[in-house]
Amino acid sequence: MLNFIKRNGSFIGFLFMEILALVAINLGDFSEIWIIMGFLGALFLIPYVILFEKKDKLALLLFTIPFILYIAFTAFSRFFITNSNILSILVSFVGPLSFIFAGISLKQDKDFKMETALLVLFGALAFITSISLIVTLANYGPFYAQIYAGRYIYYDGEMLLLSDIGLWISQITNAQMMSIDFVNVYALVLASCLPALLFISPRKNLKRFVLFAIFGGLGLLTLIFTPSFKPLIVLFVGLLFALYVRFVKKNNIGRWIINVLAILALALFLIVFAILIMNAQSGNSFESLKSFISSNGLLNYLFNENRYAQNIKLVLDFSNNISNFNNGGVIGFLFGSTRTYGHGTGSFIFDVINEAGFFAFISLITFIVFAFISLQRYLRFGKGPMHVKMMIVLFVASYFVYTLFFYQSIPYTVEGRYMSYSTFPLTLVAFFFIGYSFTYARKAKDLELKEATPLSEEKVDDVPAEEKSAEIESSLDTSIFDEIEEEKHDEK
């Protein structure tokens, strides 16, 4: 096994870099084929299981249980069984599992260079985003969403709001009209590598700095030329976070503030979520809540079938209203509806409730909370250069945050094809990153003990990134390969 890994490790790592890039850009619109390739690639990674430490295995199991539940509830939901074929169901089951497994496994491989993988990934994303930008600008001109706000165009007899669409070229034959949120989320995750440039010294690593700057810059250009303000706000928050990590010394007060803010945000989210669920129910059960909301201007703006709540209400009303047994009722609410309303809720969370039900939703939320705790530990104690860690964290965070509010499950404006969140190309990449960045509490403590000063406190320019990463790798952890080798040697 070890020989297999040693002989083929670099090749498998390289293979998965390509798969990751192809899945991300969904080239030719053959998403199922790329996911199957990801599954086949993950099969090669099975031998890596022996590299896991025993204690790691337990932590991994606990970490991935909610994820496996979410994927199982989604893939085998009533929605997919009714609307998909057996191949699609299997793909949506093994696909996400393969990608998170690949992330976890490749972390054990010392030949796998995450930075190169990021270069390939962002390079591929940059190409497809920039070519789509050129096509869009050639057809609609710069700043079209703002200049022609409220104006319509026609395609295949359909009347489309111009500011809601962007052209995309994943399908080889022609540019497709996509929901602007689809284009935005690609441009956003691409541009999310820009704040991480704060951790690369242009004097020491000019080539790397320029490459990432160009890739991220193309994403930013897409957002500016559309223009799309919502992803720019998310990007700005990411930049503030990077600035905080880079320049503000970590201390107890700072950590306190962050923790309190995080808890407040979570509490606020739960309250808003509960109100949305109740608010989205038709009938007399929550009338007093509705009348209370309508008495306040701001609340009324957010809820009561206005703005944000409207799409959610439409979808939940249609599919799995708790009191509406005809359309799924309680069973629909718990295990997913059998059909979709024809447009998404605009938020991946409510889409998950619609397609897979409440249990899948709980599993996904648990997993995301786990993932963010793990990402935070990874950022502080994980191996590798700081800019790589920051890119991974910002990629995952900006993707989840943006899709929380603006996810389009039917991004093909004309075709009306449904794209489940669990197999959406960028979700799979995010799963890969979450798997790769998995760091659990005991491990983090061990690393903290080994590492006297957390990485985030270091000044970038003090140590060149390459030297630093080498230094970190040597100081943090002896390679797992070496440990196993040593163990075998001892046994002999």
């Binding site: 670099s10 390289f14 390509e18 890039a21 080239l27 190169t116 390939v120 390079g123 591929a124 190409f127 497809i128 070519i131 050129i134 096509v135 050639a138 057809n139 022609y148 104006r151 319509y152 165009i153 026609y154 395609y155 295949d156 007899g157 359909e158 009347m159 111009l162 052209l167 070229i169 080889i172 034959t173 022609n174 540019a175 004309v414």
Partner: protein
């Protein structure tokens, strides 16, 4: 290892670059029906023949070479389309291909580029009836042209201007050298046809439905005047005489006027590629009833079909 990565990066780059050459441009129309000012602001101008010069050759079609509706015996005689249901309208649902007329015959199935023809793409999308969607499905045109009047800030009808509309095809149509016999199933789509109904304003709209309007419809086909020409054309005007068009009341699918003429007739007159088409009409007879005056009439076109042909 490094070489492999370089090769991968280069191949990905060149593949993506090659994609740009496949990208088609869109010429969409931004057309707001309610405001003249909006119309003047049209940002994605449709491609038509208004700025070109062309000579017109008239072809008055003889009885039997064209059909005036699905109830016309000429239509059934020439086409074995009974297998397809004309009554329903499931448009672009692939499961209805081969079953429903609209879904099966729509041009965008064979030529997706017709989807990018702006507002006129409504004529190629497979919706052959109104089905309550009114203005969102049809192309409306009048007998005479309209001109913008600054004083009233409105479009006013001008009898000296030609009505109707025309468009340039996204691809050029080349008629086959010969068309199969009537019994051949391929004769199914061997015609140029359009599905029409009328619109009028009246205090008693049953008049326009009970006794139809009568029009002469011109189905224009544009070809280049010579091979190298890009601005001069010849317009072959095929005149379909005495079509009965019902207006306003009702939405009975069989009462639409599905009118057209056969490809072999066009083939006998046209030898070069067809680069565009147009529709216009002359009003022949206005129905009247006691105390009712119908003073406005427009044609509503829902779907256009072209014959089986090669597109370049």
């Amino acid at each position: 290892m490094k070489n492999k990565r370089v090769i991968f990066l280069i191949s990905t780059f060149s593949l993506l670059l090659s994609l740009t050459s496949c990208v088609k441009t869109y010429s969409n129309t931004d057309y707001n029906h309610t405001s003249v000012e909006e119309f003047k602001l049209n940002i994605f101008q449709e491609k038509d023949f208004t700025s070109d010069t062309y000579d017109t050759i008239d072809h008055t079609l003889e009885e039997g070479t064209y059909f005036k509706g699905v109830n016309d015996p000429n239509f059934y005689e020439f086409n074995k389309y009974e297998d397809l249901s004309y009554e329903d309208d499931y448009y672009n649902n692939p499961s209805y291909y081969g079953k429903e007329y609209g879904a099966t015959m729509k041009i965008t199935r064979a030529q997706p580029s017709f989807a990018s023809t702006g507002i006129l793409s409504r004529l190629f999308d497979g919706y052959i009836f109104c089905d309550g969607e009114g203005v969102f499905r049809r192309i409306q045109f009048a007998e005479n042209g309209y001109v913008y009047d600054e004083a009233s800030n409105d479009m006013i009808e001008d009898e000296n201007l030609e009505g109707g509309f025309n468009m340039k095809f996204p691809k050029e149509l080349s008629l086959s050298a010969s068309y199969p016999s009537i019994s051949d199933s391929k004769s199914l789509n061997n015609f140029f046809a359009v599905n029409l109904r009328g619109a009028t304003n009246t205090s008693n709209s049953t008049v326009g439905w009970d006794s139809p309007f009568v029009i002469d419809l011109y189905f224009d086909l544009y070809v280049r005047a010579n091979v190298s020409s890009s601005k001069t054309y010849i317009r072959h005007a095929f005149k379909l005489s005495n079509l009965e068009i019902k207006a306003d009341m009702g939405d009975v699918h069989r009462d639409y006027c599905f009118a057209g003429f056969y490809a072999d007739v066009a083939l006998s007159q046209i030898s070069s590629r067809i680069v565009g088409f147009g529709l216009r009409y002359d009003l022949v007879n206005i129905p009247s009833a006691e105390g009712v005056t119908l003073d406005t009439f427009n044609i509503l076109a829902y779907e256009v079909n072209f014959p089986f042909a090669n597109w370049y």
